[in-house]
Every structure is written in structure tokens, then in C-alpha cells.
Amino acid sequence: MTDIGVGVGLIAIAAGLAMGLSALAAAIGEMAIGSAAVGATAEDRDMFGKGLILTVLPETLAIFGLVVAVLLWLKMP
């Protein structure tokens, strides 16, 4: 097995945490917004588009996490 060193290992863990935690936060946000969007659409079908847009808004958090993870990954030798 190749020895990658502690520093590289820590970068890899940091990249994993950045992605994982931001995705978790996005999921928590989407839980309530998604439920509300389904509720609003059930009463009024025209709300589907608006609901969908609002539901995916917390996804930006996951994207930020992904960007940070990629930046960290690029630092890896």
C-alpha cells in the first residue's frame, strides 16, 4: 500500500467533511421546504414550479461544499 502521508490524509478527510456536512445541511433545509412545497402544490397545482425552485435552493450549500472539496482535492499532490 502506498504511504500518502498525514498531511494528504488530513486534506482528504477535510474534503470529505466539506462535502458530507454541507450535503447534510442542504438535506435538513430541503426537508422542511420540500414538505411545504408538496403541501402547497396539493392545494394549488400552480405552486409546483415555485415549490420546486424553493426546494432546490438549499442545494447551493451542497454546491459550496463540493467547490471547497474540489479546491482541497486540487491541493493534493
Binding site: A32, S35, A36, V38, G39, A40, A42, D44
Partner: protein
């Protein structure tokens, strides 16, 4: 086991995601309530035009269903009752856990109204059909139970009520006149709601607070009516409901000895009216306008509190209040028009 007719069994706490779902549905329903501009238009219309206009709104199904059988005021009136019942049953069906149980208990108010309507019908010899039309089946009683109550003889009704758990009410009916029994039942209903919601989850506490505000406004309206009729203060206090949020018994007792103008000035010091000083005293000459104004304040207060707590039970409670106000407004307009009341007088009764 003894049945408590005022209370359903306790249920599980409700997850935030359910509140997000449920409250979004409620808010979408609130958006479909008639806008304020509709009422001045209704005031200019005749009763058939109002019925037609309602037939194009959220009352479409009921107007279409009942349109074959009824016309004019009757059509509007029964459609309103049926729509109210369908809407409130729909809310209960959509809710879950503790929220559902609280809503069910809150709607039991209609059970009491329906029972007293059925009894009043029997005592005054009104036909079963007319009684049936005055019923608002929004409570926990099923259609079969309500029909049984209406069709039964007076003595059988007592037996049915005992089976439903209203033993105390039946005992009172033999001793007291019906209005006092009604008053007693409503006091029991509120006492049960307050007892059930004292302590417990955050939503239980919010519900408790909402009920206390409800009691405050109900007491205020009854208080002002009784004072206007120059009822002695001891008698006034007999009709007051205990458990108000800002107007406990002690405060009401102090107010009972004052004159009307002073009472209104003191009332305006309460948090409900703080931002609208002078509005209540401005309405002091007309009790109808004063009552409408009080209801408007209650509704605005409930809506404001609901906005501050968007993931709470307050959202649905403020919607229920708004729906009741809408139905009362339409009812006042059509009844006023039927009785040829001047438009200005009808307008005074509206909560806008």
C-alpha cells in the same frame, strides 16, 4: 370507562416537517379566502347574484349540490354551513398526531351548538327538516349521530346524550332553562381545552394561549352586551368565562362597576389594541360596530402571532378564525338583505 365528550385521546408530538407540509396547505387555503373587496361588491348585489358569485368561488361544490333544492337566502346559508363543515373536517383529516387531536377537540364547539340546536328545535316544535338545515356538522358527531339526535323524541334525546357522555348536561337540562345549559356546556368545553393544553409541548402551550385569547374576546363581547343592557355587575360576572389571557376574572370584576366609556378606555390599554388607540372608543355608540371591531382585532392579533410562528399550530387556528369570520360576513350580508336592512347597518356588522 366514562366517556369525556369534550376530549379525544392524547396523541404523539408532531414533527416540524409535518407542520411545514400542513401549514403550507393551510396558507394556500387562506389565500383562497374571499378578498376584502368582495364584501362591498356583495353589499351592492341582490341575494341571487351573491349566490351566483359564490358559485364561482370556493363554495362552488356546495352551491351546485344544494342549488337543486334551495333558492336565495336558504341556498347561501346551507352552502355556507356545509362548506364550513367540509373545510374543517378536511383540516382534521390532513393533520397528524397531537395536532389532529387538538383540532378535533377545538371543533367540538360545533357538537355543542348542534346539540343545543336539536334540543331547541324539539322544545319549540320546529320541523326536523328545519333543524337539520340549521346544523353545522363540523364537530366530532357523525351524520348518523346528528340524524339520530334530530329524529329522536325529547326523552330519547336525553338517553342518546347520556350515551355520548353528556351526563352532566342532561342533569342540568332538567333543572335549568336551555340558554343556561348552553352557557354551562360552553364553559365546560373551554375548561376542558384549557386543562388539556396546560403544560406539554410548545404547540400545546400556543394552543392554550390562543384559547385564552378566544376567551378574552368572547368575554369582552358578552361583557359589553350585558353592560349595555344595564345588567347588574354580579349578574354580569356569572356569564364570564374563567381563563382569559389578559382579562382574568379579577380584572373583569373591576371593570364591571365602571361606566361604558371608562370600560372602553381601560380595555384599550390591553396589548390587543395598543397600536390602535381610540378605535374602540370611536365605536362606542354602536354595539354592533364595537363587536365587529373586537372580532377584527382578534383576527388581526391571531394572524400576527401566526406570522411570527410559521411552523406552529397558530397558523391553522388563525385560518379557522378567518374562515369563520368570512362565513359570518356573508351570512350577515344575506340575512341583512333579506330583512331589508339599510346597507350602512349591514356594513357595520362586517369584519373587514
Amino acid at each position: 370507562m366514562k366517556i369525556n365528550p369534550f376530549r379525544s385521546e392524547g396523541r404523539a408530538k408532531v414533527a416540524i416537517r409535518h407542520f411545514a407540509y400542513f401549514n403550507a396547505r393551510v396558507l394556500a387555503m387562506r389565500a383562497k379566502l374571499l378578498p376584502k373587496e368582495t364584501y362591498p361588491k356583495f353589499l351592492q348585489m341582490g341575494i341571487p347574484e351573491i349566490a351566483r358569485s359564490l358559485g364561482e368561488s370556493e363554495y362552488k361544490t356546495e352551491i351546485e349540490q344544494l342549488g337543486q333544492k334551495y333558492r336565495g337566502v336558504d341556498l347561501v346559508e346551507y352552502s355556507l354551513n356545509r362548506n364550513l363543515a367540509t373545510t374543517f373536517h378536511g383540516l382534521i383529516e390532513k393533520a397528524q398526531g397531537e395536532l389532529q387531536s387538538l383540532l378535533m377537540d377545538y371543533m367540538r364547539y360545533y357538537d355543542l351548538e348542534n346539540i343545543t340546536t336539536a334540543l331547541r328545535g324539539k322544545l319549540s316544535g320546529i320541523s326536523d327538516e328545519d333543524v337539520e338545515e340549521a346544523i353545522i356538522p363540523a364537530g366530532s358527531l357523525t351524520d348518523a349521530q346528528i340524524n339520530k339526535l334530530i329524529e329522536a323524541s325529547y326523552d330519547d334525546t336525553m338517553e342518546i346524550l347520556r350515551k355520548m357522555g353528556y351526563d352532566e348536561a342532561v342533569d342540568l337540562i332538567t333543572d335549568l332553562p336551555l340558554p343556561e345549559v348552553e352557557d354551562h356546556l360552553i364553559k365546560m368545553y373551554y375548561a376542558n381545552l384549557l386543562e388539556k393544553t396546560s403544560g406539554g409541548s410548545k404547540n400545546m402551550k400556543m394552543f392554550h394561549h390562543f384559547i385564552s385569547i378566544d376567551i378574552d374576546f368572547m368575554n369582552l363581547i358578552n361583557f359589553l352586551r350585558l353592560k349595555r343592557d344595564n345588567t347588574p355587575s354580579t349578574k354580569v360576572m356569572e356569564y364570564m368565562m374563567p381563563g382569559g389571557a389578559q382579562l382574568p376574572h379579577k380584572k373583569l370584576k373591576e371593570l364591571a362597576d365602571l361606566d361604558m366609556e371608562e370600560i372602553l378606555t381601560r380595555i384599550e390599554g390591553l396589548a390587543y389594541f395598543r397600536e390602535h388607540q381610540g378605535e374602540l372608543t370611536g365605536e362606542k355608540d354602536s354595539l354592533t360596530a364595537l363587536e365587529a371591531s373586537l372580532l377584527k382585532f382578534q383576527l388581526n392579533y391571531a394572524v400576527r402571532e401566526a406570522r411570527q410562528n410559521p411552523l406552529s399550530i397558530l397558523v391553522v387556528l388563525s385560518y379557522i378564525l378567518a374562515k369563520r369570520v368570512e362565513v359570518a360576513n356573508i351570512r350577515n350580508i344575506v340575512r341583512g338583505k333579506e330583512g331589508d336592512l339599510p346597507t350602512e347597518l349591514i356594513r357595520n356588522q362586517l369584519v373587514l
